[in-house]
């Protein structure tokens, strides 16, 4: 059964970016244009925070009221139950919602991506030491070799009858979960059998690492850097290494809210677009870092945020540095365009790891979670990538490779999933324990 191989079936349909109609006229019948926006204190909320703080929202005649929250489950529920109009969300969350996954799936759409980058994988200094003993380390320059070295450590531990390593992610439907699994699998580690995956709230990661409750984690900035600066962990791979184009966070909203307030949505997208362009300018990063550091936003040291934005990593307790080019991209390279093919890549990973099954309905539900038509409606044709109207390949060009060299063709999801040697077995999930 290969349900999804016919290109023509999806061309010009859901995958297209909609009609070429311009943005709806700026009519003033949508009442107060105050938008309540939920966010989690992370550097990748920068575009949303910049839109509210540096006048971009105001210029479009809208007011962004930012509300800080503590968990993705809260963000999801408060969006569903109208406490928030929009929210800073993990890129897989709208896809999961559309697929009916999770404990409170409620229709959510993403008309705007908040950019790329920010994630990294950190392992405890103890595990890193064991990897060094295995003698096959690639250092910062070769994250794939690091994964293979970890695989050797995992095998030795299993042979010696030791309990499996415990690794932390942030949420079951998170870029971190899929990226960590991707990296592990690329190194030959089965994330469901060879190690134990648990969820750890990002602010607790470095404490959990130093206490030995977990052996490593994949989370967003600035938590990897904080663990590394504290000398409790080593950064072994960044998102750039695993897949540079991976969408990180998106703006999520309820579809009926978007339908009822097309003008507000359009203004919001314009404000976010301007804020994203501004946030990409290196000269603006110092001011951005200052505002992000404030207690009402991230409440983290400004010098760490500045370095995180610049991609300057202290990768080990000895203070060795690595600068990751484009560690944070807020706008360049069409980073804000909500590509349906990326929603489908997320779907492919959900299928790969047994969170859902491959079906025509699932495919269409995933595509409908991302709304390039709203993006285009607000910003016009010029804001779109050249291949916006086709189901583009992912990981097929230089500078945008997956760590294992696979290429994702959204029209051949089943073949893509089968091409991996490590994948979840028919949705069989092993119960996990908490930390």
């Amino acid at each position: 059964m290969n349900v999804l191989t016919k290109k023509s079936e999806f061309r010009g349909g859901k995958l297209s970016t909609g009609s070429a109609l311009p943005a709806p006229g700026r009519i003033c019948n949508e009442g107060q244009r105050t938008i309540r926006a939920g966010f989690i204190p992370l550097v990748d909320a920068a575009v949303l925070i910049a839109a509210a703080e540096f006048g971009f929202a105001q210029r479009e005649g809208i007011t962004l009221e930012l509300v800080k929250d503590v968990s993705w489950a809260n963000v999801r529920d408060r969006l569903a139950f109208r406490q928030f109009d929009i929210a800073h969300m993990l890129s897989p969350m709208p896809v999961a919602a559309r697929l009916g996954l999770g404990s409170n799936p409620s229709p959510t759409i993403a008309p705007f991506s908040l950019g790329r980058g920010g994630n990294a994988i950190t392992l405890s200094t103890r595990i890193y030491g064991l990897m060094e003993e295995e003698g096959r380390l690639g250092g910062a320059a070769d994250p794939l070799r690091n994964a293979r070295a970890l695989a050797a450590v995992v095998r030795s531990a299993a042979a010696a009858g030791k309990p499996p390593l415990t690794l932390g992610v942030t949420y079951p439907f998170s870029s971190h979960n899929y990226e960590l699994r991707y990296w592990l699998a690329a190194g030959g580690i089965d994330p469901d059998r060879d190690v134990k995956l648990v969820v750890v709230p990002p602010p607790m990661t470095s404490d959990a690492l130093s206490a030995g409750a977990i052996d490593g984690f994949c989370v967003g900035a600035p938590w990897n850097m904080i663990a590394s600066e504290r000398g409790v962990g080593r950064i072994v791979a960044t998102k750039q290494d695993i897949w540079p184009s991976a969408p990180e966070k998106v703006i999520g909203m309820r579809p009926e809210w978007a339908e009822a307030k097309p003008d507000t949505v359009s203004r919001l997208i314009v404000a976010l677009d301007r804020a994203a362009r501004w946030s990409d300018v290196p000269e603006n990063r110092a001011r951005l870092a200052e505002v992000l550091a404030e207690d009402r936003h991230l409440g983290a040291p400004v010098d760490i945020i500045r370095r995180v934005l610049a991609g300057e990593f202290t990768i080990d307790p000895e203070g060795n540095r690595r600068v990751v080019e484009n560690y944070f991209v807020f706008h360049a390279g069409f980073a804000n365009f909500p590509r349906p093919s990326q929603a489908l890549w997320i779907y492919s990973q959900m299928v790969r790891w047994g969170q859902t099954t491959l079906s025509r309905e699932g495919f269409e539900a995933s595509v409908s979670a991302y709304r390039p038509d709203l993006y285009r409606g607000a910003l016009g044709k010029d804001a779109l990538p050249a291949d916006a109207d086709s189901s583009s390949l992912e990981g097929a060009t230089d500078g945008d490779r997956f760590i294992d060299g696979h290429v994702f063709d959204p029209d051949r999801i089943e073949d893509y999933i089968k091409s991996f040697t490590v994948f979840g077995k028919d949705g069989v999930q092993t119960p996990v324990d908490d930390v």
């Binding site: 968990s71 993705w72 489950a73 809260n74 109208r82 404990s103 942030t170 969820v199 999930q429 119960p431």
Partner: protein
């Protein structure tokens, strides 16, 4: 069948609030109530307890951990977040505002769960009211202490009687449209800078 046989797990890092809820549940006739204050080891507790309802405070970042657990454990049935009846938006808003979230095993009839949630919501509210009152009382006490100290300073430095000192503080507060405690604070700060 009554509602009394429901197994309820309360997870709240705030031990006082948790005990207030526990008490409420027991008063309402629920005997099978377990309260934990930290999520460490919660997976095993859930597996052995098999709760029908899990009440957890919304400020608890470990909610995401619970979501993960529900994804992967089959033994817990299929817990769903929070709200039994999506159409009951007033109840939902009340719960979120009060800071309660809950998980309910899918399929549980809503009449059985609604009173539990309502009770949790009202207890959460009562608790935050209590906290607010306590904070107010504390700051009132702090302010009174501050005014006492400022009066003492004025009496000592300017030879005022207690009443004169207080009148000066009050008059200055009125002139500057500030609270008397703020003026008292300035006096105390200034004295700290000037004396010794």
């Amino acid at each position: 069948m009554t509602h009394f046989d429901l197994t309820i797990l309360v997870i709240d890092e705030n031990a006082i609030r948790a005990s207030i809820i526990e008490e409420g549940l027991r008063e309402a006739g629920h005997g099978k109530v377990t309260v934990i204050h930290e999520v460490h080891g919660v997976a095993r507790i859930i597996e052995t307890l098999q709760p029908d309802v899990i009440v957890i405070d919304i400020e608890n970042p470990n909610r995401d951990m619970m979501e993960h657990l529900f994804q992967l454990t089959r033994t817990v049935g299929r817990p769903i977040a929070m709200f039994v009846d999506r159409s009951d938006s007033a109840a939902i808003e009340a719960a979120v505002e009060a800071g309660v979230s809950a998980y309910i095993v899918d399929g549980l009839r809503k009449e059985r769960v609604k009173p539990i949630l309502d009770m949790a919501v009202s207890r959460f509210k009562a608790f935050s009211r209590l906290q607010r009152e306590l904070a107010d009382a504390k700051s009132a006490l702090e302010e009174r202490k501050l005014v006492e100290r400022a009066k003492g300073i004025l009496m000592k430095m300017r030879g005022f009687s207690e009443e004169e000192a207080f009148t000066l503080l009050r008059q200055t507060a009125m002139n500057e449209k500030k609270k008397i405690a703020e003026i008292a604070q300035s006096v105390v700060t200034a004295a700290g800078l000037l004396i010794r």
